[in-house]
């Protein structure tokens, strides 16, 4: 009897200690973290130039460099590069590559924030239904024509914001926002909006369908410099603010009551985070469409490397998200030329296996 008792004491709660996949400390230690940041930042200009160089037509990297520096320094194309090459480099590939960088960074950061706000690892920028609202509005403009003078982007932005307002109203109870209610309200509303979008697609003219498909799956093709100002400013400003909230985000991750005990005004903070994440998402999808999976997988991949501390994850998530989408866009243009694939197809091919692996890991924890 006594021996049995000692045996139990010696191995307390095996279910708690046997967690091999969680028990490994962060893959990148605090000491090596700065190195990782430097490496990723160094990869940004390299990948940007690569993305502008390669495509349906490969251009000499030297020309690419000359065109970019000439435009950045003199504001004019260089004399010794042909007009067509200049057009491809500066007015086609450069803006779409920069848009991919902005969109990837924005979606990844928004996804990370929403995963923390609703404390659900499967959350992404679209969990609140924002993208469904944007899609419906965009598809409505494509099929039915402009509404109140809004183009596709403007309508998508308005649709996203209206949906967020509706989800917040449905998700709050006695003025308090609970994560579960928010997710349920977002998912329920998404289905309704998607149904309406499908109806519009059925009624669409054949020549409109390609445009609709490209918008729904996301694409940075056809981006112009003038399209980049609004998402650029919004993504940079919102990410900047979020980078300053690292400690409070960590507290929120520990539960509402712990966060309150740590001095966070939970309700106000959650509302601000939702608004910022939705604003970033709306600004991005208004110009790039509903690019899936970036906001889901990039935050998780970064957390696997450096742990859950937002002070370390958020800068990396922004940079990695940008790099990921630039690479995905490069692949979209070069995998099966001259056909160009929508971004959503590539991010889904990369994202789905990761998503399934994550589900397995989560069910192992639960």
């Amino acid at each position: 009897m006594r021996r049995a008792w000692t045996a139990v004491r010696a191995a307390p709660c095996p279910s708690r200690t046997e967690r091999p996949q969680l028990s490994s400390p962060h893959l990148i230690s605090e000491r090596r973290y700065p190195l990782l940041v430097v490496l990723l930042l160094a990869a940004v200009p390299v990948l940007l130039v690569a993305a502008v160089t390669y495509g349906a037509v490969d251009l000499p990297a030297a020309d690419v460099w000359r065109v970019i520096t000439a435009h950045l320094t003199t504001g004019r194309p260089p004399a010794d590069v042909s007009g067509i090459d200049n057009e491809i480099i500066w007015n086609s590939r450069a803006p779409r590559t920069v848009l991919a960088l902005i969109a990837g960074a924005g979606l990844a950061v928004a996804g990370a924030i929403l995963q923390t706000v609703v404390r659900n690892p499967l959350a992404d920028p679209y969990v609140l239904g924002v993208t469904s609202g944007a899609s419906l509005a965009a598809v409505a403009v494509i099929t039915l024509g402009s509404v109140a003078g809004l183009g596709v982007s403007g309508a998508a932005f308005v649709g996203a914001c209206a949906t967020l307002a509706l989800v917040l109203a449905l998700g709050s109870r006695r003025g308090a926002l609970t994560p579960t209610r928010l997710v349920l309200a977002g998912v329920a509303l998404s289905y309704l909006l998607q149904g309406a979008t499908s109806y519009l697609q059925l009624r669409a003219q054949p020549d409109q369908l390609a445009g609709i498909l490209f918008w729904l799956l996301g694409s940075v093709a056809g981006a112009r410099w003038s399209d980049l100002t609004a998402p650029g400013v919004i993504v940079v400003a919102c990410t900047g603010w979020l980078l300053l909230q690292g400690r409070r985000l960590n507290a929120l991750l520990l539960g509402d009551e712990t966060a309150a005990a740590l001095g966070v005004h939970v309700h106000r903070f959650r509302l601000a985070l939702l608004a910022v994440a939705a604003l970033v998402t709306a600004a991005v999808i208004a110009v790039a469409g509903g690019i899936a999976f970036v906001g889901l997988i990039v935050p998780h991949a970064v957390r696997l490397l450096v742990g859950p501390d937002h002070r370390r994850t958020l800068p990396l998530i922004a940079v990695t998200g940008g790099l990921f989408l630039v690479a995905a866009d490069l692949a979209a243009r070069t995998l099966s030329p001259p056909l160009e694939l929508p971004l959503g197809i590539l991010t889904a091919i990369l994202g789905t296996p990761f998503f399934l692996w994550l589900l397995r890991r989560e069910s192992a924890v639960a």
């Binding site: 507290a251 520990l254 712990t258 005990a261 742990g307």
Partner: protein
């Protein structure tokens, strides 16, 4: 710091008109059956649930009307019952969250975190993932976080739930040695009687008795509030008050 609750009323959670005081340095226990409002009352103190009426004061300042969430958290730290949140953090990272209400100062924070871990005997575990610790170790880490928060008031909300008996005693010994102003909701009446300077008994959201354990935990009160027969004696091993129980109807 002195803690004063007066006329605290919380509609959802069923706390109605509670007056309660904790003197500086005192360890006060809050006992009562499930649903008597212990946790709700504590939430009103650490600013997680705004009372519908009444005032909560810490060191003379109204927690809800005068102090900001951050200022309040600089005074009051909390150790709640075992939870599953924060699983992916390392021990040091989790303790570091205790610095949230304070101005960020990485070097000084590291020192404070190290001292807090030393105080609870977890120094060697700083880089371990929190998820791999035993229940008792987890609660010691959360106590270290409360210490890193450097409040003068400590709130405990059933901190010994789900712990084995050795871990329960170790945790309360640790808190007792801190000599910090403490208000603790405790499930186990013997632990409450053994470690608390004074007890408040809550039933259906009201204070029905308060005072030193020996005066409060009478067989009559325990029958009335908890519906059990009880005998109050002394623990032969520790000399502290000790209760033994039997079901309410003598058969």
């Amino acid at each position: 710091m002195r803690v004063q609750l007066s006329g605290v009323h919380v509609e959802i959670g069923g706390v109605s008109g509670v007056d309660l005081e904790v003197e500086p340095g005192e360890f006060v226990g809050l006992v009562g059956p499930n649903g008597s409002g212990k946790s709700t009352l504590l939430r009103a103190l650490y600013r997680a649930r705004r009372p519908d009426a009444g005032t909560v004061r810490v060191d003379g300042d109204d927690v809800w009307r005068t102090l900001s969430a951050r200022r309040s958290a600089q005074r009051t730290a909390v150790l709640a019952q075992h939870s599953t949140d924060g699983f992916d953090f390392t021990v040091a990272e989790l303790v570091a969250t205790g610095r949230t209400p304070h101005r960020s100062a990485p070097a000084a924070d590291r020192e404070i975190i190290a001292r807090a871990l030393e105080r609870v005997g977890m120094t060697g575990r700083a880089d371990r993932p929190y998820a791999t610790l035993s229940g008792g170790e987890r609660q010691r880490v959360l106590l270290a976080r409360a210490l890193a928060q450097q409040g003068d008031v400590l709130v405990l909300d059933e901190p010994t739930n789900h712990l084995d008996i050795a871990a329960q005693l170790e945790l309360l010994e640790l808190v007792h040695e801190l000599k910090i102003t403490t208000l603790a909701a405790l499930h186990d009446l013997n632990l409450a009687a053994a470690y608390c300077d004074r007890l408040y008994v809550l039933a259906a959201g009201r204070v029905v008795a308060y005072g030193p354990a020996l005066d409060v935990l009478t067989p009559a009160l325990l029958l009335e509030v908890f519906g059990v027969r009880a005998h109050l004696g002394l623990n032969p091993l520790t000399g502290r008050p000790n209760l033994t129980f039997a079901t309410g109807d003598p058969r």
